[in-house]
């Protein structure tokens, strides 16, 4: 159950990253590429870091989706 919830939350988080990237790029365009790059970078790193932490706690020590 816990693993299923963690997996679903992970999928939702990465879908959120994709949605954020599309929203930023489509709405702001290429007015300021550096300013738009930073939130996308931050969201990817955040999603990955939370995913690493959850994987280590919820899944077994070898990591990876199981």
């Amino acid at each position: 159950m816990t693993k299923g919830v963690a997996l679903a939350l992970g999928v939702l988080a990465w879908a959120g990253v994709a949605a954020l990237a599309i929203l930023i790029t489509f709405n702001i365009g290429d007015k300021n590429q550096v300013l738009m790059f930073l939130p996308i970078l931050a969201s990817v790193v955040l999603a990955w870091a939370v995913g690493e932490a959850v994987t280590e706690r919820v899944f077994d020590e070898e990591g990876g989706a199981r």
Binding site: W14, A18, T25, G29, G64
Partner: protein
């Protein structure tokens, strides 16, 4: 015969350590992340202009793909003086064939949505190697059609990301997706579990 047997006997050639460190080691994953995000962002930006912008290629009043049609027409034009944009006759014939059959109506959708998809997949790091391959294919075709622009730089980045497919998506979805799916020669954890539950789906056993 001995010569050929010796020349083509199976030898496993190791990559130099620096090459292994760059393309197979996760400690350089942050560098791959920057390259991946830059490339993905450029594709998403290019795709957004075609899907969303004022001069968009698709979903506008009138027939779709007229912008692509004029791009192809400019590309296949052979000027009276000077060099034509396309160097290869077979590629010019290919574009002419697509123009003659009005393929630009649906091909504009393929390009516009393809660019957005490649951009999103690269940004989230999902099937990074395959997404980079799709991007490189588009760059290659744009360059064959005589459009340089940013394509050479994006093409080189895509080739590097393909070479580093094992680690270029490490800070991304591939960190979990690739171990779960594995490869044809080494099935991942999710595939092994499916094989255990559904043994009749298992391919032929490998010879010992």
């Amino acid at each position: 015969m001995t010569f050929f047997r010796k020349a083509f006997e199976r030898k496993h050639l190791e990559d130099p350590r620096p090459v292994q460190a760059v393309f197979s080691n996760t400690w350089l994953a942050p560098l791959w992340l920057i390259a991946r995000l830059y490339l993905g962002y450029q594709w998403l930006l290019a795709g957004s202009h075609k899907v969303w912008g004022d001069d968009r290629w698709i979903a506008r009043e009138g027939p779709d793909g007229l912008a692509l049609k004029s791009f192809w027409e400019r590309a296949i034009a052979v000027p009276a003086q000077g060099a034509p944009p396309i160097k290869y006759d077979w590629y010019r014939d290919f574009l002419q064939y697509m123009l003659d059959h009005s393929w630009y109506h649906w091909f504009a959708w393929v390009i516009a949505l393809g660019e957005v998809t490649v951009g999103v997949l690269l940004i989230v790091g999902c099937f990074t190697g395959l997404a980079a391959l799709a991007g490189a294919t588009m760059n290659f075709n744009f360059m064959l059609a005589g459009s340089a622009s940013t394509n050479p730089v994006l093409f080189i980045l895509a080739v590097l990301l393909m070479l580093g497919w094992k680690v270029s998506g490490w800070i991304g979805v591939d960190r979990w997706l690739l171990p779960a799916l594995g490869t044809p020669w080494q099935p991942g954890t999710a595939v092994q579990r499916v094989e255990r539950r559904l043994p009749h789906l298992r391919p032929h056993e490998r010879p010992a």
